[in-house]
């Protein structure tokens, strides 16, 4: 969910930039290192970013009829790791603000924090931990992306609550209010996005599994096992 332009008042939009900029700089440093070692990743990362943008502009089929879009960043985090995803995410968010009127420039810091940094980081950590414990790959992808999607909404609710504390309950009071409206309504959407990503992964394993091995998402033996299970 994007926080729109002008929504966050003065100390808060700057603070979220202060939070996001070091992470992005770290991501750029990692990116530069990767690019100097393997030049062929530049076009691959560019098309991956374009893929995130296009995926996030598709409408999810929804039961309630409300319009909603997948974030796509959970999938990117599993594929490319959180540092690179943060950099791709900033570019995607900037393009969304300029092309689709989603988000904004002063709120770019806050949106980056929730959608390009915290959400993907959660997805990545969950995926790695669960993969180590031997969880089924598809279930793992489903849970990682669904949780990341939902965490994004919780962070956005927290951002709004910090900026507009409630008179009686303080920050916690308004967080409850924002989270009730935004985070609970997003649970079905998070499940949808998780299911979508898991099924996309299933087809990718079927058709082009070497990509997943290249990106270090799965080992060769894991891919063979998944393919055997399909037959």
């Amino acid at each position: 969910m994007h926080v729109f332009e002008g929504f966050l008042p003065s100390p808060w939009w700057q603070l979220w930039f202060v939070f996001s900029i070091p992470v992005i700089l770290y991501g750029m440093y990692k990116l530069n290192k990767l690019v100097s070692e393997r030049r062929e990743v530049v076009p691959l990362l560019a098309v991956a970013g374009a893929f995130i943008f296009v995926l996030s502009s598709l409408k999810l089929p929804s039961v309630t009829g409300s319009s909603s879009h997948p974030t796509g960043t959970g999938m990117a985090a599993i594929l490319f790791g959180p540092a690179i995803t943060a950099v791709l995410g900033v570019i995607v968010l900037l393009y969304q603000a300029l092309f689709l009127a989603h988000g904004g420039i002063t709120t770019l810091g806050a949106n980056t924090a929730s959608m390009a940094i915290i959400g993907p980081l959660v997805a990545y950590l969950f995926y790695r931990a669960a993969a180590k414990s031997g969880m089924n790959f598809y279930l793992n992808v489903f849970l990682a992306t669904a949780i990341a999607d939902w965490v994004t909404y919780v962070v956005t609710s927290a951002q709004l609550a910090l900026a507009f504390p409630s008179a009686e309950g303080g920050i916690l009071g308004s967080f409850t209010a924002f989270a009730t409206v935004f985070a609970t309504t997003q649970v079905p959407l998070a499940i949808m996005e998780g299911a979508l990503t898991a099924l996309i992964m299933k087809y990718v394993v079927q058709i082009k599994s070497d990509v997943l091995v290249d990106l270090d998402v799965l080992t060769t033996s894991a891919v063979t096992k998944l393919k055997e299970a399909m037959e």
Binding site: N32, A46, F51, V54
Partner: protein
């Protein structure tokens, strides 16, 4: 499919105006709007920027108001929450829900109005930029900053491929829907998965192909971008300064108006 504002920007009569001037106008509006204490300043900015977008950039009014309504869902819900929960003092009106008293105080209502005005002002500034300046023009501005080359290159190639993949996505979606691929919830989910997968695999193969083709054309990690000089003309400068002065004056006179 969402509207790509860039389509309007490419054809905009303001496209070949000085980029830095446009960015200065927008940055000024964004900062003045977000730091003002009175809803009057952002409203004034919204009116000026909308006028500039509709009159100088000749954006169709029906399209403009439709995109201006895009954030409405998010903004209305959040503004209502702020109105109910923010600020203390005498309640203007209140009612009971399940034993809980919900009320709107003066401070809460003022804050909600201010946030609404700021979002409106901010969005109209953003629309002015995105409806008059195609991304290609902004790249030359970004080149002047100290951002690393690899970052800018990825941003530029991403820009190109967004349009390629959007075309693919629109085509596939159309083909799916004429075959009743979106007739109910289950089939639309299935179609969407296939669309996503296809897009991913296609984009991956495309990425490998571009690398080969760029290498064959002596790509050495740098895309060179040339921009032409576009001096700021006097009438534009005068108009911009008049706008700045108007906003600064309003800002100055409303600074003591405490709505908080």
């Amino acid at each position: 499919m969402a509207h790509i504002l860039d389509d309007y920007a490419v054809l905009s009569p303001l496209r070949y105006k000085n980029n830095w001037l446009k960015i200065a106008i927008v940055t000024f509006g964004l900062l003045a709007g977000v730091s003002s204490n009175s809803p009057l300043v952002p409203f004034l900015i919204a009116i000026c920027m909308s006028f500039a977008t509709l009159y100088f950039a000749k954006v169709p009014a029906s399209f403009y108001f439709r995109i201006l309504a895009a954030p409405a869902g998010f903004v209305i819900v959040s503004v209502v929450i702020i109105a109910f929960f923010f600020g203390e003092g005498a309640k203007l009106f209140s009612f009971d829900v399940f034993g809980l008293t919900l009320g709107v105080s003066k401070a809460g209502l003022d804050m909600a109005l201010l946030v609404f005005a700021r979002t409106l002002g901010g969005m109209s500034c953003l629309f002015f930029l995105s409806l008059t300046t195609p991304m290609i023009e902004l790249f030359s501005v970004l080149k002047a900053t100290k951002l690393p080359d690899s970052f800018l290159e990825i941003a530029m190639m991403m820009y190109r491929y967004i349009f390629v993949f959007l075309d693919v996505a629109v085509g596939v979606k159309y083909a799916q829907s004429v075959r009743l691929g979106y007739k109910d919830f289950k089939t639309s989910f299935r179609s969407m998965v296939m669309l996503g997968t296809n897009l991913f695999i296609r984009s991956w193969e495309q990425g490998e192909k571009i690398y080969v083709s760029m290498n064959a054309r002596c790509y050495d990690g740098k895309l060179i971008l040339l921009d032409d000089k576009r001096p700021v003309e006097m009438p534009e400068l005068m108009l911009t300064l008049a706008y700045f002065a108007l906003v600064v004056l309003t800002f100055y006179f409303t600074r003591t108006v405490s709505v908080l």
